[in-house]
Amino acid sequence: MIEISIEKELLGSLGKMDLCIDLRIDRQSFVALSGQSGSGKTTLLRIIAGLEKAKGRICVDGEVWLDQNVYRAPQKRGIGFVFQDYALFPNMSVLENLLFVKKDKALAEQLLEMTELSELAHRKPATLSGGQKQRVSLCRAMMNRPKLLLMDEPLSALDPSMRTKLQHEILSLHKAFETTTIMVSHDPSEMYKLSSRVVVLSQGKIVQDGDAKSVLLRTQGSQKFSFEGELLDIVKVDVIYVAIVAIGQQIVEVVLDEGEAQNLRAGDIVNIGTKAFAPILHKK
């Protein structure tokens, strides 16, 4: 059980804000941390890791890591941390990166095997692709057999197919090593696939907390489906208006009448939903 109750003043995207978090996390659960950039996700992760100081209390399995009198150094927390930009040791080979954490060759080889990196064991990080680097970083984080694994947007710099592959690896490592995992992510499908719980931050506060489905599904009332998108443009065509909306990586057109169009501006975040018909799912 991880108990976190911390406070810290931050400079967020909208000026000064207070990061104020109260969170209890069960053992071996997989928590996804979401929210807009500047909402305090990374800072929260860094405070748990001990890389940043804060007021309050952090207690992990009965051991106090932080309170008024205690500050446990990051070296002594036994946490695995995966950085967004990999942070591999550039002067060491893949295997040496792992052994630097702990001289346990059997474990290192097992991890490299699990992530299909055995062939690359003696390569230097500079010669690896982004996906390979992040897998090494993931393996390195597991070398301490951490009770707690923290990941700061580990997959955001990777292409979609590499992402899917790594999602599987993260999940299998999480299960094999029975870690408690906290991952910062922006990708709803990723959160849905991996996490048992999603916590959403905004302006330093928790605004949503629940299982992936209840937090991530955006439909309201009798809507069959609903997507969040960004309004790119509104074009007048004869008597109607056509809104061009970006949803994820796709762009769609939606017909509006004049009344609807007047209230909308390009750049607005909108919900697109429908209830009148059953959606058709085609396999591509």
């Binding site: 941390f81 040791f89 630097f100």
Partner: protein, 220 residues
Amino acid sequence: MQVWHPLVLSLKTLGCVGLLLVVLGIPLAYLLSKEELKYKWFLETLVTLPLIFPPIAIGFLLLLLLGKYGWIGTYLNQIGIRFIFDFKGLVLAGFVAALPLMVKPLQSAIELFPKAIKEAAYMSGKSPLYTLCFIVLPSIRKSLIAALLIALARALGEVGITLMLGGNIVGKTDTISLAIYNAVFDGDYPLALSLCTILIVVSLAVFAALHFLERRDKVL
């Protein structure tokens, strides 16, 4: 003899200066790279001063400080440590002149080293010192060697401070640069020329080494 003595003296001085630069220069560069260091501006000024301040004036100030009756010299003299007109004075002169050229580039290389990589080492249970020795310094070793080479080249050419502290005593404290001056002063141009040739060869070797380092950097 006329060529050998200054050459050997210079090489011995360079050896000691190099050792001091590694033993003291690297920790100093690390200390200065820390953002939260107290009195950082003071330490930084002290280290950088020999780069801007005329060497002959620095030599004079050191003479005042370390002379037989100087502020510090009085005490050092009592325990038998003498810098003035001594080999130690040559080493000190070279070290003071070379220090900024060693510390400043190294400091910026350490500062520019990605914070996340250091933090990854901390999360692996390693102390900042361990991280510095096994991750940061090996990763920036090319900058380290380049800084050391340039600093040593400066120490080799050092005249002003060396003159003040060493006294240019022929056969005792005349380093190769000072020996050239002495040879010209005595009208012995052939000797001056051969000493110059040695300096040119050494400088070219340093230049070639720097070039080689840069080229290997690009290949990697």
